[in-house]
């Protein structure tokens, strides 16, 4: 990592002292005179028509100062799609939908009065799943969808539940698919989860007697709150003032607008009074916002080499009751649908579906963890089934300079190096394909990519100004809710102006009346956008300082530099301290020049182009990409299903590490949050009532300190971002994107089961292991281990040359089919070739599982029948390998590698019966009829008649299963004993 004077250094956070001393004030800490408290009346129904709301009793209750309800506030709000009113007017759409609210002198009075609000509902059929929502004739959650105001780049479908549909059409998917060598299809799911910020949502509002609105709120986006409040109440932006004090975590849940309209609506009813709406933990879970659910179906077509040629992605997003914000997650997931990979031919659909669940909104990662859960497991499955090492497979297919994304954007050499990230984490975790395997320990990898998902004109601006003593004050309106924005803003200024960090004060708690504009603190964009604005402002300030100094020193401004709090004339060494310049310079004769030094600058991403509405092709749809990868090592308790994440390695190409401590903190936090959503979190709704069943920290678990892995290693690549401040790009969200998929892949590596629906709970793993066990037990042939017995090479040679074998076995051993032209003849030829290749690899003693995987993958499922020919050959081979291994003729490590490649097969690759046989073979269990023959071969004590009899019994099994098993065993024996003949 490159360190500058300040940038790149592990400086302590500038808000640290405020936070550890408790000086930092959060919204709920603020004291307001004669504060009123709010209770919200929420819908008990997931979907119902609102027939009548009567507030008379409530407004006359003791202590009540204001009651507000639906029809009085008819204007809609929503950041991209205006689909929500302050209170439900004609219908409620989820359990928790606000219908009315009461402001009273005490929280208790408010709560009691809220019970007096009478609402008449007419229940409607609810929809909870995306599939239901997409069904023909499904009840409509928003019958008025066609009338809502929407930004031009979001495409709702009136008359359906689809609030946005983004299509990716690149190349010729259909053609590429039909030309693929193998095709894989899988479905993955992600449930709704909640952000669980330490500080629940809280907003305080007052409308003064002149009608001006003032709000203090725990939010990520003061200006967007102002913008949307103004729209929602028909006010001038100039009459709305929003303050955001310190914020105790947002994770996306405080992006856009949330509780503020309810507080303002009540404040309008009791002018002059401060009104505070503060949700408790219970309400936080279902009544604020949640992460959207996802149901993803992927189809991957690969060529023989394992390069993906055709990729289809069908993402159905469970947006919940309102999609104002969520529609843009649908969009982002669409234009990022291929993750960190290059797919030449793509058919992608990202579809947002309204349901009667809690409201989906932004959540750290903005859809990316969800799609990577699907994509990264799919890539792993494809790799393993193709017999390619998953790391190698990723390197073969990943994006990089000169590669094109799903939107057809061709990346340049500044875009970041996912390949390096993959290599580093693979090395750190030891994902070497020849690694020693331990039962129920597994390793897995997943990549990550994300771009800032924002309007093309999303801007940040800053003010830099000096105090009299040359303290530099930086005004920003990005929110530092823990990620460290205030600190990096100070670092950039310190670096650019070469002034000590201690002389900088970042004014990080914005007030829209006084602070410079900033769109939102979301999208991992602040270090980059605010950072750029700070650098521009610093350069403007430098210009002002040098201009004044040039006049003072009578030298050209171009010869002046800023160094150590002075303006220095390098050629002569003469200098002026900033303290004498920042308020203007006064000459000895008394006249002054310059003036208070300050700059206001902004940053707006350049050159972004809309997506094509039909194909989403665009040469520059987003400002930047940040790539990365994580690899994990886990252990699994085979009896309880409990998964322990032992070690995580993360690596991201962040362009430039601005603050090593902060970025490590971000990464650790992201990993832990990823473990949370990956292994324990899910907001569970009662399927009948639509109520959240686990809306409390007792039943909704996020990781505790004891769940944090003991080892987390964090590493960075620094390929400078061309338009990044000193090369930096965003990282905040990316740190939690790949973790669940990496764990899922490690789980498969550990014990051969896949959990395709997040989270990976112990019980799900237990169930999957039981299922696998059941499949294993249903073998068509009873299995047992080989019995040890005497062996001599001479008797094996004798046996082999004297044993009569069925014609079918001969055909497989020679590769010459009996009747040409039949389907079976193709099988025989193909099987013969692959079997020979495997025999060769075993003979060579190759200890790498990957050396066996391609041939094993090719043979599994090959041929018709209950146990296809290919599988029988593999099992026969395995039994003989084990016997020859005992005899010292096959390297035991090669044997283990071969066995390992049989154990890791995916369920889709062959029939359940064959899978069971292969699984047994991997564990040293072989069909008894086969074992009897294999034990006899090369055993000098066995009489020829006995061997003959046993071989005949084996040959009689199935249509030709027995003959095929025998062929596998003999192929290896021949290959080892008579290498020339076999050839």
């Amino acid at each position: 990592m490159s360190a500058g004077r300040s940038v790149g250094r592990d400086v302590p956070r500038v808000d640290g002292l405020d936070k550890v001393t408790g000086a930092a004030q959060y919204t709920a800490d603020l004291k307001f005179p004669r504060l009123l408290h709010v209770a919200v009346v929420r819908s008990p129904h997931p979907h119902a028509r609102v027939l009548d709301v009567r507030t008379g009793l409530a407004s006359r209750a003791p202590g009540v100062r204001a009651v507000a309800s639906g029809r009085d506030f008819p204007l809609h709000t929503g950041i991209y799609l205006k689909d929500q009113t302050v209170f439900a007017t004609d219908r409620v759409r989820f359990v928790g939908d606000p219908v009315a609210a009461v402001a009273a002198e005490s929280p208790e009075a408010a709560a009691e009065a809220a019970l007096l609000v009478e609402v008449d509902y007419e229940p409607l059929p609810p929809i909870f799943d995306v599939e239901e929502g997409m069904a023909e004739g499904a009840p409509l959650v928003h019958p008025d969808l066609g009338r809502y105001e929407v930004v031009p780049w979001i495409q709702p479908k009136a008359g359906t539940n689809v609030c946005n549909h983004l299509k990716i059409r690149k190349g010729d998917y259909e053609k590429a698919l039909s030309g693929s060598w193998r095709v894989f299809q899988n479905t993955f799911r992600v449930p709704q989860v909640q952000h669980v910020p330490l500080e629940p949502h809280v907003s305080v509002a007052r409308v003064d007697l002149s009608g001006k609105v003032e709000v203090h709120t725990s939010a990520q986006s003061p200006f967007t709150v102002r913008h949307l409040l103004a729209a929602c109440f028909g006010l001038s932006h100039g009459d709305v003032r929003v303050h955001v004090p310190y914020v105790g975590g947002g994770f996306g849940g405080k992006a856009g607008i949330n509780l503020e309209p309810i507080a303002v609506a009540l404040a309008m009813r009791c002018r002059g009074r401060w009104v505070r709406l503060m949700v408790d933990r219970h309400e936080e879970f279902f009544a604020t916002v949640v992460r959207q659910g996802l149901s993803a179906t992927l189809v991957t077509g690969v060529d023989r080499s394992g390069k993906v040629q055709a990729q289809k992605m069908h993402y159905l997003w469970n947006c919940g009751a309102y999609g104002g914000y969520g529609v843009n997650i649908v969009r982002a997931a669409g234009y990022t649908c291929g993750g960190a990979y290059e797919f030449p031919n793509v058919w992608g659909d990202s579809i947002g579906v309204y349901t009667n669940r809690p409201v989906g909104s932004a959540y750290r990662g903005f859809g990316m963890q969800e799609i990577h859960w699907a994509l990264e497991q799919q890539m792993d499955r494809v790799a393993l089934e193709m017999g390619i090492d998953p790391v190698e497979f990723r390197l073969m297919n990943c994006l990089g300079a000169g590669k094109s994304t799903v939107t057809g954007q061709v990346l340049d050499e500044h875009a970041g190096r996912v390949d390096l990230c993959i290599r580093r984490v693979a090395e750190e975790i030891g994902l070497d394909p020849a690694r020693e395997r331990r039962p129920y320990r597994g390793k897995g990898i997943a990549c990550a990519v994300k771009a800032p998902a924002m309007p093309n004109d999303a801007a940040s601006s800053v003010v830099l100004k000096f105090a009299e003593d040359a303290t530099l004050e930086i005004l920003i309106a990005g929110i530092d809710y823990g990620q460290g924005l205030m600190t990096v803003a100070a670092q950039f200024a310190a670096e650019a102006l070469d002034i000590p960090l201690e002389t900088i004060r970042v004014k990080g708690c914005p007030d829209t009346d006084l602070s410079p504009y900033d769109w939102q603190t979301v999208a991992s964009r602040q270090t980059w956008a605010t950072g750029n604005a700070v650098l521009r402002a610093a350069s403007e300030i430098g210009r002002q300082l040098c201009e004044t100094s040039a006049e003072v020193l009578s030298v050209p401004a171009a010869d002046l530099t800023l160094r150590g709090g002075h303006v220095v004339h390098e050629p002569t060494g003469r200098s002026i301290p900033l303290t004498r310049l920042v308020m203007g310079y006064q000459f000895p004769d008394g006249h002054a020049i310059g003036g208070p030094v300050a700059a206001t600058t902004s940053y707006l991403p350049e050159g972004l182009l809309f997506l094509d509405p039909e194909t989403s092709q665009s040469a520059k749809p987003v400002a930047k990409w940040t790539f990365g990868a994580q690899a994990v090592e886990i252990s699994v308790d085979p009896e309880t299903g409990q998964v322990t994440v032992e070690k995580v390695a993360a690596c991201y190409d962040v362009g430039r590490v601005v603050n090593p401590g902060l970025i490590r903190g971000q990464t650790y936090g992201g990993i832990v949050q990823g473990i949370g959503t990956g292994t324990m979190e899910e907001l569970v709704l009662d399927p009948k009532t639509g109520r959240a069943l686990n809306a409390s920290l007792m039943d909704y678990k996020i990781p505790s300190t004891e769940d944090v892995p003991t080892v987390m290693t964090v590493d960075f690549v620094e390929t400078p971002q061309k338009d990044g401040p000193m090369g930096a790009r965003g990282i905040g969200e990316h740190t939690m994107i790949p973790t669940p998929a990496a764990i899922a892949n490690a789980l498969f590596d550990a014990c051969g089961v896949r959990i395709s629906e997040m989270p990976i709970t112990a019980e799900k793993v237990w169930r999957a292991l039981k299922e696998k066990e059941k499949v294993r037990c249903r073998t068509p042939l009873p299995c047992r281990p080989l019995a040890a017995g005497p062996f001599s090479a001479e008797s094996l040679a004798r046996h082999l040359s004297s044993l009569p074998v069925p014609a079918r076995t001969v055909a497989l051993l020679t590769g010459i089919p009996r009747g040409n032209g039949s389907v079976d003849s193709v099988t025989v030829k193909w099987a013969h070739g692959r079997t020979r290749a495997l025999v060769g690899t075993l003979r060579s003693g190759d200890v790498r599982e990957v050396a066996y995987q391609p041939d094993v993958a090719a043979l599994t499922g090959l041929g018709p029948g209950l146990t296809p020919t290919g599988d029988d050959l593999l099992v026969g081979l395995a039994a003989m390998a084990s016997r020859l291994g005992d005899a010292g003729l096959v390297d035991p490590r090669a044997l283990r590698a071969y066995g390992g490649s049989l154990g890791g097969l995916a369920s889709a690759s062959t029939t359940p019966a064959a899978l069971a046989l292969l699984g047994n073979a991997a564990n040293g269990l072989y069909p008894s009829v086969l074992a009897a023959v294999v034990e006899s071969l090369g055993n000098p004590d066995v009489q020829p008649e006995t061997l003959l009899e046993r071989a005949a019994r084996l040959a009689a099994v199935g249509a030709h299963s027995g003959a095929d098993l025998l062929a596998g065993a003999l192929a290896l024996a021949l290959g080892i004993v008579f290498p020339e003949e076999a050839r």
């Binding site: 005490s106 208790e108 219970h282 009896e639 309880t640 409990q642 324990m680 569970v684 069943l693 686990n694 409390s696 007792m698 039943d699 678990k701 990781p703 505790s704 300190t705 004891e706 769940d707 709970t761 112990a762 019980e763 237990w766 169930r767």
Partner: protein
């Protein structure tokens, strides 16, 4: 949660019992770590809280004449789990207590509260059952002692009569010397209620060895599996599988957010077997 709540702080057991007798809607309060969340959730709405924490005898741990130990209802778990007599003679109790919530919680949560709340998942209760504890209670009618084995009646239900106050929990001297393991599964590793808890205890001082098998979170009450204990006493640790099967047969789990009945039943077997094998 109501705001017009009376908070009363008696200084003697007699005073507390009298206050309680005078008000049907009152509730005794110890650490409040069960009661207050239940009040906030609207599941309990007492008109008065009678805080027992300032009553000196309830805060004592005393040796008893038979070599046992009496633990006052108001002693916080953090004090029980490090008490030398508990660690020396009744380590099973410390073994279970250490799994309750987290250390800060145990600075407040009491043993008395854990049993009176009678959650099926009460971790300390399992140890008290296994150690044949007696619960001493007092009311306006007088004093009595309830064996742990007949104290738990169902989720939140105990043998306490209205107004009865638990003063102390008495571990008999005869139960000294059991060592063992409390194997417990939960959704996350730190601070979570048990999905399944299995206590396996063994005392080797006598011949044959004595065994204890207790279960949490797999029945309407914490359970002890006498049949499994007898089998182990007859056949020793070699009967681990049989003991596990008997425990599986004895448990009556439900499916809830923490786990399905099927999973819990299977886990009872796994954990009993593991515990027995470990104690050998």
């Amino acid at each position: 949660m109501r705001s017009d709540l009376d908070y009363l702080v008696p200084s003697s057991v007699e005073e507390a019992v009298a206050l309680r007798a005078a008000s049907a809607g009152a509730a005794y309060l110890l650490g409040g770590t069960d009661l207050l969340p239940q009040m906030r959730a609207g599941r309990k709405a007492p008109g008065q809280l009678i805080d027992l924490k300032r009553i000196p005898p309830l805060r004592e741990i005393r040796e008893t004449a038979d070599g046992g130990l009496s633990i006052g209802a108001a002693v916080v778990m953090a004090d029980v789990e490090v008490h030398p007599a508990v660690l020396g003679r009744f380590p099973l109790l410390a073994e279970c207590i250490r799994t309750v919530g987290a250390w800060p919680l145990r600075q407040r949560a009491t043993l008395g509260g854990n049993v009176c709340n009678a959650s099926p998942a009460a971790d300390a209760a399992v140890a008290l059952l296994a150690l044949d504890a007696a619960f001493h209670v007092v009311s306006a009618e007088g004093r009595r002692s309830i064996p742990a084995g007949s104290f738990f009646r169902g989720p939140g239900q105990t043998a306490l009569l209205p107004g009865e106050l638990l003063t102390d929990l008495v571990l008999p001297g005869g139960a000294a010397g059991f060592r063992g393991r409390y194997l417990r599964l939960s959704r996350r590793k730190g601070m979570d209620l048990a999905t399944v808890g299995v206590l396996v205890g063994k005392s080797s001082g006598t011949a044959p060895d004595r065994w204890r098998i207790g279960l949490a979170a797999v029945a309407p009450t914490p359970l002890r599996v006498a049949a499994a204990e007898e089998r182990l006493e007859a056949k020793g640790a070699a009967a681990a599988e049989e003991a596990a099967a008997l425990a599986v047969a004895a448990c009556r789990p439900i499916s809830d957010l923490r786990g399905s009945a099927e999973y819990r039943r299977d886990m009872v077997g796994v954990l009993v077997r593991r515990g027995v094998v470990e104690l050998g």
